[in-house]
């Protein structure tokens, strides 16, 4: 016997459906620290892109350098133009501010380029490993495991020792060191998704494989990937800086922040700290900004912490 009278319609309360983007931005904005980080990051990116336009001097154009101005403290004026060097000069008379702006550019582009490349490679390998399984899975994962069990800096050092210097070689080293994170992350996410019912449904409908992978599997693996990628950009930048500092990174013709810091290191003990300090500060701010954003992203996208 039904408890519904004849002709009566059950009333179901409708819930307001919120767009996932809205929800995401709202959650992200909860942390003011993260917002500050995002702001800082955007500012840095803008500055880096506009470096040739806004820097007072092109630090790599030897004609613009005045050796008489070398090692001036921040704020001291140039002996030729009389304009003050905001952050001082290095041992060649280069304006530190310009050097930093250009250096930021290089550091950021190398960091982002290597991350994107590593992401692409890791994504393909991870998806393939998860989807096809079998020996492909074992090989890829074993490789990733072995690589991840060794510290990035060691692998990068050895690779560079073997390959030599140059932007392309640095990127190769950085990519080699990073792809495994993406592959692993994608594979775990993909494996979990694969078990889910909607995948069975898609397979049951005999959709073409590529479509299943691209339209169904991929979007759901993205959240953890985004978090990893953001953090990795910071790592890549820091790693490249470290390698350059050790003398194995980018060549002197394309100095990144790391190299600038290395150059200034010898003057530290004599009190001319600005040659190393300010590039270091720029590096620091970049990495902190990225990490702040990445942290909040991770909290927002982590299903286990949502209660």
């Amino acid at each position: 016997m039904s408890s519904l009278a004849e002709g009566e319609e059950p009333v179901v309360a409708a819930e307001k459906v919120e767009s996932p983007w809205r929800r995401f931005t709202a959650d992200f904005a909860e942390s003011r620290l993260a917002l500050a980080g995002l702001g800082l990051l955007l500012a840095i990116l803008v500055v880096a892109v506009l470096a040739p336009v806004i820097s007072p001097q092109n630090p790599y154009d030897l004609a613009q350098l005045d050796v008489m101005d070398s090692k001036l403290a921040p704020g001291e004026p140039s002996s030729s133009t009389g304009r003050p060097y905001l952050l001082g000069t290095d041992d060649q008379g280069r304006d530190m501010l310009s050097g930093i702006l250009y250096g930021l550019r290089i550091s950021l582009s190398v960091g982002i380029a290597s991350t994107v490349l590593a992401l692409a490679i890791g994504l393909v390998l991870g998806l393939a490993a998860a989807y096809f399984g079998g020996w492909l899975d074992t090989v890829v994962m074993r490789l990733a495991d072995i690589q991840l069990s060794f510290p990035a800096i060691l692998i990068a050092l050895i690779l560079l020792a073997v390959l030599g210097q140059g932007v392309d070689k640095i990127i190769v080293a950085l990519v080699t060191v990073q792809w495994a994170y993406y592959a692993r992350t994608v594979r775990s996410a993909a494996l979990v998704e694969r078990q889910k019912e909607y995948m069975e449904a898609a397979r049951g409908l005999a959709l073409p494989r590529a479509r299943i992978v691209l339209r169904h599997l991929l979007p759901n693996c993205l959240p953890p990937l985004i978090v990893v990628a953001t953090v990795q950009v910071a790592h890549a930048i820091a790693l490249e800086a470290t390698l350059s500092f050790l003398g194995l990174g980018l060549p002197i013709t394309e100095p990144s922040l790391g190299l600038l810091i290395a150059n200034g290191f010898q003057y530290l003990l004599s009190g001319k700290y600005w040659i190393s300090f300010y590039p270091g500060l720029a590096l620091l701010l970049t990495i902190v900004a990225i990490n702040l954003v990445a942290d909040q992203l991770r909290d927002v996208l982590n299903p286990r912490l949502r209660r």
Binding site: P151, L157, I158, A161, A238, G280, L284, L292
Partner: protein, 327 residues
């Protein structure tokens, strides 16, 4: 338990052999040290003689076999630059590196776990947020820059600590260590703190995340329902659960600390294996590079092995080799 241990041991050996192959290929198959060691104006006869003497004219496979058999007996060639057995060179400098790495790890763990625990238990409090912000900072600061700042502040400005080198050493079980003397500690302070910073931040974040997740678990509610004091709930129930992944990380990170010591050693001119490696790379002293890699790989494999065994002791579900883990 025994079967598990033996199995892991076998796997470790396998990895060791594999890595030796990779190392060998990487270093011997690429690059040409002849150009460095022989006078560029030497004639072909000299070159040939040197090549033969150093065994560089043999086919690669043969070179590898020679390499492997020698390595197994501890002979990893002689340094091109110093002309003493490479392994001796490495072992001479290893205690300094290990001391630095272990002290740094100890600092990171002793400070990191309690701080992370506090941050995890009170995530929205002022102190909790402060700790997290601090850890982000520690995480983001590139090691070499921190070293720089430390030197700037403590050596140049304040003049409290010496900026480079290792202090006085005393012998502990036959191994020279410097943390037992005051001078040694003064020299050890900055490099150790520098090295520890990154890992400290990692420990804090890991402990915090683990604590936050653990506190949401049902067994915490059940423990409280039993009327256990907060101290016991956190100190026994939560801690034991989060220790498992943390121990794993500590173990694995020990390896990376040893690797990162390379940078710290360069900055503080600490006479360890890291500095040796950088110099060897620049001078193309291949046997030393190879010896370093092999020693490091051996250390890593050993660490992984120990961590695995420890893990199985801490988490009983792992012991039965997977069967019970799925119960």
């Amino acid at each position: 338990m025994l079967a598990f241990t033996l199995r892991r041991f076998g796997q470790s050996l396998l990895v060791l052999v594999l890595m030796s192959l990779l190392v060998f290929l990487g270093v011997y198959a690429i690059g040409n040290p002849i150009d460095l060691l022989v006078n560029p104006q030497a004639d072909d006869f000299e070159r040939a003689r040197a090549t033969a003497a150093l065994g560089l004219d043999q086919p690669l496979a043969k070179q590898y076999l020679t390499f492997l058999t020698h390595a197994a007996s501890g002979d990893l060639g002689r340094s091109f630059v110093y002309n003493i057995p490479a392994i001796d060179l490495i072992l001479q400098r290893l205690p300094a590196t290990m001391e630095l790495a272990l002290v740094a790890t100890f600092l990171a763990v002793a400070l990191g776990i309690p701080l992370g625990l506090v941050a995890g238990l009170k995530p929205h409090s002022f102190i909790g947020r402060g700790i997290m912000a601090g850890s982000i900072l520690g995480f983001s600061l590139p090691t070499f820059w921190v070293g720089l700042v430390l030197i700037m502040v403590f050596s140049v400005q304040l003049g409290w600590l010496p900026p480079n080198g290792r202090g006085e050493t005393t012998l502990l079980f036959g191994v020279p260590v410097s943390f037992l003397t005051r001078d040694g500690l003064a020299h050890l302070a900055m490099p150790a703190v520098n090295l520890a910073l990154f890992k400290l931040s990692l420990m804090i974040r890991l402990t915090r995340a683990g604590t936050r997740e653990a506190m949401l678990q049902d067994y915490v509610k059940f423990a409280r329902a039993k009327g256990l004091s907060s101290r016991r709930v956190i100190g026994v129930h939560v801690l034991k659960n989060i220790l498992v992944p943390i121990v794993t990380v500590i173990g694995l990170e020990l390896g990376s600390v040893i690797a990162f010591a390379i940078v710290t050693e360069s900055i503080f001119a600490w006479p360890g294996t890291g500095k040796l490696l950088i110099d060897s790379i620049n001078q193309l002293d291949r046997p030393v590079i190879v010896a370093y890699l092999m020693v490091i790989v051996a250390i890593f494999v050993a660490i992984n092995f120990v961590v695995d065994v420890l893990y199985s002791l801490l988490d009983p579900r792992v012991r039965l080799g997977g069967a019970a883990a799925h119960a």
